[in-house]
Structures are given as structure tokens and as C-alpha cells.
Symmetry: C2
Subunit: 307 residues, 2 copies
């Protein structure tokens, strides 16, 4: 709900830009899992001029050396995969930059951007993203104003109406987006998972066309299992043509969520905010507590006991 | 069915190793879509010492320059996304290497590995993979023998039994794998899509745990929608621990497909072959023609008329 205030709260120079200039790296590696790691996936798309590799595993890739600028993102600071990557970097003599609220990651990283605590990681996307934006593609007051204006364009009544349709359908959300808004479909899936307690499928056009079109066109059982959502960031691309042909040929009825805003970043943030609200209200409609992810906490505890 | 003969047919030095040595690139970019592109995804995992970026879109990333070794993979040679990437590389003055049977890609690429024609791309994974293996991690007769032996361990009766269970369940396959067999879950999904005409969900542990566990544990409708398949490549990892805890805590009953073979590559190829047969027989059980992907051909034709 407070995405805009997160964006604005971290407007000071909270970033790694000084060490990034000094280290003179060409390659960026962002390690993180779940609600923390999604910031890396989204940022790698927001900043296409840089080669950003996102790692969502225990392992620092073998090829990583001092030509990579390493950022570990873990909201809690205690994600075991991300700590494992940080330790592997240290074993290789590499510097670790961290975005975190604290935890073990804060104590082992060489340079830390500390962000406000007390949220679920997925509620802190603004806090997790802004240090990356400040470091690699700083924005000024005009862009902040674009973002503010675009977020105000999200109409809660429209969101609630769609959330009720999704909840009452009893179906699995099937989400498609395309470049330069490809990563938003993954964020949407994870937000349906955690906020709405719904499994969900995420795809990116045009790759989706190369395989998924077959069951959706030829197998009615499959088609009837899904609630189709298209995230229309860009309306002037070959992928948009593909979407139109797919809807017509396979007889699919997609609900279109269309980006609004005066800049690319503003439109991206409009979609993030729309999806946050949509998945929240879908959870409410299904009589779930959107905040409750107790099962993840239990798994982490149980796993911590296995060494 | 003839995966092994494909692996053995391309045993001569059909590769780009000479130009790779000459160009002295540290970074590899493999562009390709669908059944062609999946070779890049799998190869990037098979060869972890190299930083391989897989591009499944129309766009050569902005950051790509002469320090990248570019390989475009398109079985037909006429995939519009892959040709677009090749053209963008040429506009930037970069060399394009291609793995293809012919088509436009053959005529525009600077260096071509030509592979046998007449198959569906997804049936040609051996032909598509071997030039990459020959170039970057050549194998000898001992490893070829390992592969031969492991493929012979695939028991068709076991495969058929599982395929009938999947077909008669009426459910959506939900496939999980983990490093160093992460990419096989994507291949499995696409093979279910095209060979079996089933939608399918693919995930990689441990990232899957960070969001999907919530609906699978808390929402019975979701849990009951899926036929759970675990691809157990590596049995000694934290991800394997996660799988065990997930099955127990969420009450999920996964069907485990366990890799067999005397080397990593042999085990990987065992899984590829098992999945090819599994998805083929699942299609047969569902009374579909595993070869038929006519809807994809129609889409491509229709798209070609929009300029």
C-alpha cells in the first residue's frame, strides 16, 4: 500500500555508486531469493544498458571474478541461499555489497545499504529497488513526479472488480507479459502465490508462443483451468501482435492490464502497484489473510535444523 | 527416440572452436526460441565455467559488444526472433555463428554449423546440443560410452506406466528440479506442452519454496489441480532437503524421476531421454498425435503477414 512512500523515503544517496565507480566493473551480479530476489529480476530489465545476472541459488557461478560487482539482496539478512553466495564470494576474495535490514548478511558484507525493517520482503519492493536505481540509473525530481502521478492512476475500484472475478472463477491465474515488462509476470505470479494463496503461471511472450499455444488451443481441459491475464506494457511490438493472434486463434479471453504513466519507469511502477493491490484484494475475496505466509517460516525453521 | 544416434552422428569436429579460440571472448550469448532455444538453456547449465547468457526475444541486449561470442540457434533457420537478434548483431558489427538446418539464418550468418533437417526442433535436441558441447567442452569416447550406457537404463515400461498415470489423472503436470539439473524442468514443461498437449508448470528449487509453498500448503483446490513430478538429479543437496520437507509439510505426493548414469552429462542425458519418452507416451495415452503442432505453424504464417 505504501509503495510510493518507499520510493520517496530512499531518495537520498543511499547507494553503492561510489564503490561502483571505483571498482570499474562491467558486469553486475545480483543474488537474492523470493520477494527479495525479485528486485534483481525487475531491475535487470529496468536497466538494460548493464549486463546484470540474477542468481537465485546457493551457488556463486564458477565464472564470477573481480570483474563482477556483486550485490546480495535479502530483506531479513538471514536467507541461507544468499548468505551462501556471499560466503563463496569472500572465499574467492571478492567484495560483497548488500541490501538488507540486518541479520547475518549485514554482519558479513563489505558494504551495506540498510533499509527499514518490519515488513514482509514482498511488501518492501520499493526499499529493495531504490538503492539499485540510485546506484546505476539515478532519477531526479521530474521522474519522481512521473512515478507519483502514475501510481495515482491505479483505480482501486477497477482492481477490486478484477480481484473478485479472479476469486470467484476458481481458476488458476495465467499471466503473460512481454519486453520491456517481461519481469512483471514473475512478480505477479509470486504475489498471487503469497498474497492470494493461489498457484499461478507466468509467461513471457514471444517464448510462450513457441510451446504453450499447443495445449491452450488443442486441449479444452487446459484452457478451462486458467484465468488469463495479459500485462500490456508495450502496445507497439511484435509480441503485442502475437497476443492478438493468440486470443483470436485459440479463442482465449485475456483480461488486459494496461500500463499508464509518462515514462517507462512510471509505467513499470504503475503495474507493480496495480498487481500488489490486485493480489491483496484477491486474497481478501478468497477469505485468506494476505499477510500470512507461516508455512514458509516453518520450512525455514525446519531446514535450519538440518546441517 | 533417436537421441543417442544424434549424439553420435555429430561426433566429428562440427563446432566453432577455432573461431572461439581466435576471438578470445569471455562471454557467450546463445539466442534461440522454443525447441531450439532450450539447447542454450541446457548447455548453459552443462558448462558452468563459462558465463552463458540465453536470449529468447527479438532483441540483442544493449550491452553486447565484441567481447561476446554470439551463437544463434534456430532449427528451421527462419525463426523471426532469432533472425532479428542476428541482424542486430550485424548492425553492431559483430560476428554471428549459427546452428541451423538452413533457412534465412544460414544465409546471413558469418559461420554456420549445419545440422540434419526433417525433424521438429524439439526432436533435434541432440543435433542442437552437440555443436555447443564440441565447441566449449569436447567429450571423448569414454564419455560417449557413459552416455550410451545411461540411455540404455531408461526402462520404457516404467515410462509408459507413469505416462498412463499422468494422462488418467486429468491434472496439470507440476515439475520441479534443482541445480545442477535446473534447466531440465523447463524442457519437461515444453515437452508436455507440445508432445502431450498438456499445460505444465516448471519450477526450480530452492526459489520455488519462497513463494509456491503457500498456495500448495494452504489451498486444497490448488494442490488438487496438479500432478507433481520431481526430477531428482542430485540427491545430496540442500534442495533435496527442501523437497523432503515440502512433501511432508504440505502433504504433497511427488513422483520422483531419478537420474541414472556414470557421469554428470550421462545423467543429464538420461533425464532428457526419459522426459522425451514420457511426454510422447502421455500424448499417445491422451489420444493426441505427439507430432502435431499445427497451431504453431498457423500462428507463424499469420504473423509473417503482419509487417
Amino acid at each position: 500500500m505504501d509503495f510510493l512512500s518507499q520510493v520517496n523515503n530512499i531518495k537520498e544517496q543511499v547507494d553503492f555508486s561510489e564503490s561502483f565507480r571505483r571498482d570499474n566493473c562491467r558486469l553486475i551480479l545480483i543474488a537474492g531469493m523470493g520477494g527479495s530476489g525479485v528486485s534483481g529480476r525487475i531491475f535487470s530489465e529496468l536497466c538494460p544498458k548493464l549486463h546484470i545476472t540474477v542468481v537465485d541459488s546457493y551457488k556463486l557461478p564458477d565464472y564470477v571474478d573481480e570483474s563482477y560487482f556483486i550485490i546480495c539482496v535479502s530483506y531479513s539478512g538471514n536467507t541461507e541461499e544468499t548468505i551462501s553466495v556471499a560466503n563463496m564470494a569472500h572465499e574467492r576474495g571478492l567484495r560483497v555489497h548488500a541490501i538488507t535490514t540486518g541479520g547475518k548478511l549485514k554482519s558479513i558484507a563489505d558494504e551495506v545499504v540498510e533499509i527499514p525493517a518490519g515488513l514482509q520482503p514482498r511488501q518492501a519492493l520499493g526499499y529493495l529497488l531504490m538503492p539499485l536505481i540510485n546506484t546505476f540509473m539515478p532519477i531526479g525530481s521530474a521522474e519522481r513526479n512521473n512515478i507519483k502521478n502514475s501510481l495515482e492512476l491505479v483505480k482501486v475500484e477497477d482492481v477490486k472488480k478484477l480481484s473478485e472475478e479472479i476469486a470467484s472463477s476458481g481458476k488458476i491465474p495465467y499471466v503473460v507479459s512481454w519486453e520491456p515488462y517481461a519481469s512483471i509476470s514473475y512478480r505477479t505470479k509470486t504475489q498471487f502465490n503469497e498474497n492470494s494463496k493461489l498457484s499461478a503461471i507466468n509467461h513471457v511472450l514471444s517464448e510462450q508462443n513457441h510451446n504453450e499455444l499447443v495445449p491452450l488451443s488443442m486441449n479444452k481441459n487446459m484452457k478451462n483451468s486458467f484465468f488469463f491475464i495479459s500485462i500490456d506494457g508495450d502496445s507497439n511490438s511484435r509480441s503485442r501482435n502475437r497476443m492478438d493472434i493468440m486470443e483470436k486463434n485459440a479463442g482465449l479471453n485475456f483480461h488486459h492490464i494496461t500500463a499508464k504513466g509518462d515514462s517507462y519507469l512510471a509505467r513499470y511502477f504503475y503495474l507493480i502497484h496495480f498487481i500488489d493491490l490486485l493480489t491483496y484484494y484477491t486474497g481478501i475475496s478468497l477469505k485468506y489473510d494476505p499477510e500470512d505466509v507461516g508455512v514458509l517460516e516453518s520450512l525455514k525453521k525446519e531446514l535450519a535444523n538440518i546441517r
